[in-house]
């Protein structure tokens, strides 16, 4: 327990860059803490009164990835792409439709009842909107103590001390334990939610858009608090966000999600320096910049086109093809696979560069053949 640190360790945030580099080298060698394989979460959609329909919204559709101890894996994407569903399914708040979920070497996909509740000690969630994730009728102290009560940690006196310690850890005055959530600001409430999440010393925390409901001025503070806590407690994060610029500084690796699946997975730096997927290109070029030299850091400006398609009616072929600026004729005929192009850098696109290109195309069904004419694929 990294207990007695009265003053908040504020050195962490500045050294983020070097730390992530070290983490990458060390941790990737070990076993993953969380391992997701072909995870699916489908919601049945009933049309009208006659509950006969067999149509599904494929919120998460066959996602695979690993998260290594101590790292931050970020999932970014537009609203409605299934990122929150993915996060909550990985946290076992929702049951998976298909696929497997391994935590710390153990298959937890089917856990139920008591065993599932025990798993919650290791896996915690910080929710998007702190105003609704804290029970308005309970005092802050009781909210933070709740996980300790649930998991029967320590004696009554120890729990009380622990609550005070947790409040200190999230930089809130200890007196706040007597207040109700409505007496706190958004940022303070989110700190309370964070304190609650780390109360039972979990190994893995799912951060579901932890700053999107907060004022911009508060966002940075909460992010840096999360970063400090990660260092201090050796936490592993799954960070869900729609904000690439926020994720950039925090995430070790990033998965770019679109319509229930990853389009690109890469180390944070690689993703920003060398995006391989057209969708990532569009997202990156949509990041607002203030100064002109910042613009030069971004890939060629591409305008984001159109709206997210109806997830109930996904386009055929590559899910992104209707909005893609590099669309080929074949793109709506064939759904590309996620392939590792460079070590640790995966993309899902028929444009896969280099030696992998042939591999991608070999995987295509027989009916479709490709020829390249003037940089255009046709069948």
């Amino acid at each position: 327990m990294s207990a007695d640190s009265p003053e908040p360790p504020d050195a962490g945030s500045s050294s983020t860059e070097s730390r992530t580099a070290i983490h990458r080298a060390e941790d990737r060698a070990g076993d993953p803490l969380v391992s997701v394989r072909d995870l699916k979460k489908h919601y049945p959609v009933s049309d009208g009164l006659l509950n006969r329909s067999k149509s599904y919204v494929k919120a998460v559709d066959g996602v695979s990835f690993d998260i290594f101890p101590g790292e931050t894996f970020a999932v970014v994407g537009e609203s409605g792409c299934g990122k929150t569903t993915l996060g909550k399914t990985v946290a076992r708040l929702y049951g998976a439709t298909d696929g497997t979920l391994t935590f710390d070497g153990r298959d937890v996909t089917e856990l139920e009842g008591k065993q599932l509740r025990r798993l919650r000690r290791d896996v915690q969630v910080v929710y998007q909107d702190p105003s609704s994730s804290l029970n308005p009728r309970r005092r802050i102290g009781n909210i933070i103590r709740e996980p300790l009560d649930v998991h029967d940690v320590g004696t009554k006196a120890q729990r009380r001390d622990r609550v005070a310690e947790l409040l200190r850890m999230v930089d809130l005055p200890v007196e706040f334990r007597h207040r109700y959530p409505n007496a706190l600001s958004g940022g303070q409430k989110q700190r309370v939610a964070i304190a609650r999440a780390i109360a039972v010393e979990p190994k893995f925390v799912v951060l579901d858009e932890p700053t999107s409901a907060l004022d911009v001025s508060v966002q940075a503070k909460v992010i840096s608090l999360l970063d400090d806590l990660q260092d201090e407690l050796g936490l592993t994060y799954l960070l869900i966000s729609h904000d690439l610029s926020l994720v950039k500084n925090v995430a070790d690796r990033i998965g770019v999600m679109y319509l229930g699946n990853f389009m690109e997975v890469a180390d944070s730096r690689a993703l920003f320096r060398n995006p391989l997927n057209p969708y990532t290109e569009q997202l990156l070029s949509a990041i607002p910049v203030i100064e002109s030299h910042e613009q030069s850091l971004k890939p060629t400006a591409v305008e984001v086109q159109g709206e997210t398609p109806d997830p109930q009616n996904p386009p055929s072929g590559c899910p992104f093809n209707p909005r893609c600026h590099r669309r080929f004729d074949a793109c709506d005929a064939v759904e590309p696979e996620l392939v590792e192009v460079e070590p640790g850098h995966l993309t899902r696109c028929l444009h896969t560069p280099g030696e992998k290109r042939e591999e991608v195309r070999k995987a295509l069904p027989d009916g479709v053949s490709f020829e390249e004419r003037d940089g255009t694929l046709t069948d």
């Binding site: 509740r117 919650r120 029970n135 009728r137 005092r139």
Partner: protein, 304 residues
């Protein structure tokens, strides 16, 4: 409920201060609505009357205090005077004393009926709302069956099937009343269940039982409380109606409805016999309505 109260293990000296703080806030909000203060004053007066009836009433034995109600046929149908503020009835009993003692019965009816209705209805609504699915459907359809029968008719048939007595009248009223609480609770639970803090409670590893009692119940209590205070008046009114129809408390019990019913035969000549018990019913129902309206504004909730 457990957790809205300051806990003992938090520093004790400030715990008292916080409690007073909370109380001040509640009092302040309550006083914003003058009607609710009037309502509270009326109800408090009735409660005091009920508690101290044997000492306030000039002729406690006329109301059956310490045995069967006394009779003094020599004093029958005396009109209101200094001796008998509300006059006397056909057996020469002091109506003022009987109205005062009637307060006890009416409050008891209200409390017992609502306690029974709430202790059936709220758990049914909680379980149906939280569990949902087939179990929830079944419970709520059963509730609907009860709701589809006009309350007074059902109460009448229950009282007729059993003997006419005050206990059976209360039973009958509770039987028609609980479905409203089941339905109100059900609806509230459905909306509270969607709140993230309920999901968070599950995410922490809490059992369903814990989630229901810590996170859901405290957040549905406000509308239930408001409905209870509004319903107290109605329950008393229904009990009085049953008494009036001869299916509730039996004479010579000093029950207001029964007294109004008996006095009906002597209208308009002996007007005081029916009027004063009637006024008492009117006042107590009004008081509970004012109080309920005030509470509703205070909690800012909708009750039907």
């Amino acid at each position: 409920m457990s957790d809205t109260e300051p806990t003992v293990d938090d520093s004790t000296d400030s715990a008292l201060a916080r409690r007073i703080d909370d109380l001040n806030r509640i009092v302040y909000r309550f006083r914003q609505n003058p009607m609710s203060v009037v309502g509270l004053a009326i109800i408090l007066s009735f409660v005091l009357i009920a508690v101290f009836a044997p000492w306030i009433a000039p002729y406690p034995s006329d109301a059956g205090h310490g045995g069967e109600p006394a009779v003094h046929f020599d004093q029958k149908f005396e009109s209101p005077s200094a001796d008998h503020l509300f006059g006397t009835d056909q057996a020469g009993r002091d109506i003022f004393s009987r109205v005062l003692f009637g307060t006890r019965l009416s409050l008891k009816i209200g409390v017992v009926v609502l306690a029974a209705a709430v202790s059936i209805g709220v758990p049914v609504g909680l379980v149906a709302g939280y569990v949902g699915g087939g179990v929830g459907m079944t419970l709520m359809r059963i509730t609907d069956v009860f709701l589809s029968v006009p309350p007074l008719v059902l109460a009448l048939s229950v009282s007729v099937a059993l003997d006419s007595s005050l206990t059976n009248a209360m039973l009958a009223i509770a039987a028609v009343w609980w479905p409203w609480y089941a339905r109100l609770t059900f609806g509230e639970v459905l909306s509270v269940k969607k709140e993230t803090y309920v999901e968070a409670s599950r995410g922490i590893g809490a059992t369903s039982f814990r989630t229901i009692f810590r996170d859901i119940l405290p957040n549905v209590l406000a509308p239930i409380t408001v409905k209870m205070s509004l319903d107290m008046g109605y329950a008393i009114l229904v009990a009085a109606a049953l008494g009036f129809l001869g299916l509730g408390a039996q004479p010579p019990t000093p029950e207001w409805g029964t007294m109004v019913s008996q006095g009906r035969d002597y209208l308009p000549g002996q007007w005081w016999y029916s009027t004063f018990p009637g006024l008492a019913i009117f006042l107590i129902v009004l008081g509970f309505n004012f109080l309920g309206d005030g509470l509703r504004d205070m909690f800012d909730v909708e009750v039907q």
